[in-house]
């Protein structure tokens, strides 16, 4: 594609990513975001949490000032959800707030957006921690992380420190770049073939549900160097290694359950598409891949699991496969028959499909945000970052990984009492020589 065509595509896509209504800008939900509100239940919202642990105690009044100054720079986060006849939209929210609040034990609580003007983000503080919770309809972890970094930088500036705008710290005095607000899926959903979606029943962790609404987390904190050394020993990357450890833990759990019929063990892993398709969007731009092991084919050693995951990642994580995946997903939304179906029917169909097919397609979730880069001037003030994928749709465990400097944090979030998967996961790391420190709200 030559440069002029690419620019034309970008401009067309930006134009279709928002609509001007009565002097205000409304944003249709992006391709991923369409699904999340339909899954809303009394005890479930697609809410994720990002947090930063600073080295000094947080001053709430300063944090509120920083938030007030930062949020207008992120128009797709300063919104409320609105329901149309056929689709949902994000409309600018002019109500007071959001207000910073003392953190809670059961975080990632459901966010109700049925009433008008509800905020879809929450900002918490506790001790030295600033936490941002956002509804997935607004954006993915990368988008949320831009907001958290910019907020933290502004907070530090208000405390008198000089922090430049670099990496994920955006300039709050500038207007947002139109590309930040685009639905980037539509720009790249142009493969000539639509590969079918994986639809296979996989092993599900069965456990005792915690009472409504309990959110249990177990955080493992370790040295990046330790994990890299172990990954190098197995001749794989850190992501491949940690994926393999989770698959290994799930396989062990299934063996413990002694089922009559074993099922494949599969991990749903979001891939950040910005790595393959240039876009500055702060909205959702991820797709899922599913590394898996099928125990029906035989017993796998840990080395064999690593080899399988390594080759799966090499084979699937490239622009060709990912473009095909985006095209398959976009085809449903672009179908003219689906477009004219009223929203409440779409909601029922999407929810049923997700419940009966998509949700059964993975045994656990794992996301790796990678290494966080912040301006050098910010480094002395930050201890570490955390990320939580939020409460799972069905009883299972979600795992999220993030690193900063030499600290790698693995956050498990779950709504069941049993902790077998987490135990197998961390004890495997310990066996491999990684020194793990555990924190938990259990």
């Amino acid at each position: 594609m030559n440069k002029t065509t690419a620019e034309r595509n970008l401009n067309n896509n930006i134009d279709s990513s928002f609509k001007h209504v009565g002097g205000e800008t409304w944003y249709p939900l992006d391709l991923s975001a369409i699904v999340y509100p339909t899954l809303q239940r009394r005890d479930f919202s697609s809410v994720y949490r990002l947090s930063v642990l600073l080295k000094e105690e947080i001053k709430p009044d300063i944090l509120q000032q920083a938030l007030n100054r930062t949020l207008p720079r992120f128009p797709t986060y300063k919104v409320a959800m609105r329901k149309g006849l056929f689709w949902r939209f994000l409309e600018p929210n002019h109500r007071p707030g959001p207000f910073v609040q003392e953190d809670v034990r059961n975080f990632c609580m459901p966010m109700s957006f049925r009433s008008k003007g509800r905020w879809l983000i929450r900002i918490y503080y506790h001790g030295c921690r600033i936490a941002l919770e956002a509804h997935h309809s607004l954006g993915d972890g990368t988008g949320g992380m831009h907001l958290l970094h910019t907020l933290t930088a502004e907070y530090l500036r208000l405390l008198g420190h000089e922090i430049p705008n670099k990496y994920m710290v955006l300039n709050i005095d500038k207007e947002p770049h139109p590309e930040e607000l685009e639905d980037a899926y539509m720009r790249y959903s142009n493969a000539k073939f639509r590969p079918p979606r994986p639809m296979e029943k996989t092993y599900r962790i069965r456990g005792t549900l915690e009472p409504f609404f309990t959110f249990q987390v177990i955080d493992g904190i370790m040295s990046v160097k330790d994990v890299m050394a172990v990954a190098a020993k197995y001749k794989c990357t850190v992501t491949e290694y940690l994926n393999s450890v989770l698959l290994y833990a799930l396989l062990k759990k299934q063996q413990d359950d002694k089922p009559f019929k074993e099922l494949p063990v599969k991990i749903a892993m979001p891939v950040n598409l910005r790595r393959f398709f240039p876009s500055k969007t702060l909205r959702n731009f991820i797709t899922m891949i599913y590394p898996s092991i099928d125990p029906r084919l035989g017993d796998y050693t840990f080395e064999e699991i690593i080899k399988q995951v390594h080759h799966y990642m090499r084979y699937y994580i490239n622009d060709k496969f990912l473009r095909g995946d985006i095209t398959t997903n976009a085809a449903t939304q672009q179908n003219p028959f689906i477009r004219v179906v009223p929203l409440f029917i779409k909601d029922v169909v999407v929810r049923t499909f997700y419940k009966k097919v998509q949700d059964l397609n993975s045994s656990a979730g794992l996301t790796n945000m990678g290494a966080m880069k912040v301006p050098e001037e910010m480094i002395p003030f930050i201890d570490r970052f955390d990320i939580y994928m939020g409460i799972p749709f069905s009883p299972r465990t979600n795992c999220a990984i993030i690193s900063f400097q030499d600290t790698l944090t693995i956050n498990f979030a779950s709504c069941i009492k049993e902790t077998d998967v987490e135990r197998y996961f961390f004890t495997k790391l310990v066996e491999d020589g990684v020194h793990v420190t555990i924190e938990s709200n259990r």
Binding site: R114, D219, I438
Partner: protein, 237 residues
């Protein structure tokens, strides 16, 4: 900070037991200072209140759907297709459905038993209204009314067990089979009486026996925890 003797992980200072294997933390060097209440943990201890989901809009939408259907049928019956009272069953069905679904949308705290009682009364009135379209009301008093009452009692008892005892898949299956067993016996009794013959259990005895066997098996699974967990894990549900 201590290490878990089972898992080998280092535990954060405020933890009293290992969150992975639940082994209590005992640090031999700190036996005299086991009070951890002053240690501030990394997580807040405040419990957040989850906002109740408002279902007013769904309630309003359902009211609109049922209301407009009933009114449209009534108008058509009065002015267009006026050869009989065909709209009565449709209007009655709309009222019964509204009574079953909508009060909970507007009043989330309403008792489920009260809702069931009101629904059962409305169903009885609905069935009685249909007798005006038939030559005799004997079928109503001898079959439909007692059957409705039996269903109401069974549903109420099952609802109580579902809410108070267990709402698992196996427990729900148990309630269903018990209800079907008793209902089939009651139904055959009422049918025999209506037909004027002596009460003689035949098909309902077979249904009841099958339901009883299944219910005993399910009760055994439910009452033995190990067996219950094994069934859940082995059958992947």
């Amino acid at each position: 900070m201590s290490y878990c003797v089972q898992c080998g992980v280092k535990l954060e200072q405020s933890l009293k037991s290992c969150p992975l294997c639940h082994t209590p933390v005992i640090n031999p060097n700190e036996l005299n200072s086991t009070d951890l209440s002053d240690v501030i943990g990394p997580f807040s201890t405040i419990k957040g209140e989850v906002e109740p989901m408002k279902k007013h809009d769904i309630g309003l939408w359902l009211t609109l759907v049922f209301g407009s259907t009933a009114i449209a049928c009534a108008i058509l019956n009065l002015f267009v297709f006026d050869h009989n009272y065909w709209s009565i069953p449709v209007i009655g069905a709309c009222i019964v459905l509204w009574i079953f679904f909508c009060p909970r949308m507007f009043l989330p705290k309403i008792s489920i038993y009260l809702n069931l009682l009101v629904t059962a009364i409305s169903v009885i009135f609905y069935e009685f209204a249909i007798t005006f379209m038939t030559k005799s009301d004997r079928w109503f008093f001898e079959i439909i009314l007692p059957t409705t009452l039996v269903i109401m009692v069974l549903v109420t008892i099952s609802g109580f067990f579902y809410k108070v005892v267990s709402s698992s898949l196996i427990a729900s299956a148990l309630y269903l089979f018990v209800d079907v067993g008793f209902l089939s016996v009651a139904l055959e009794c009422y049918i025999d009486r209506f037909m004027g013959s002596e009460v003689h259990l035949f098909w309902s005895a077979i249904v009841f026996s099958v339901c009883a066997v299944i219910s005993i098996a399910l009760s055994a699974i439910l009452s033995i925890k190990r067996l219950r967990e094994t069934v859940r894990k082995r059958l992947h549900f």
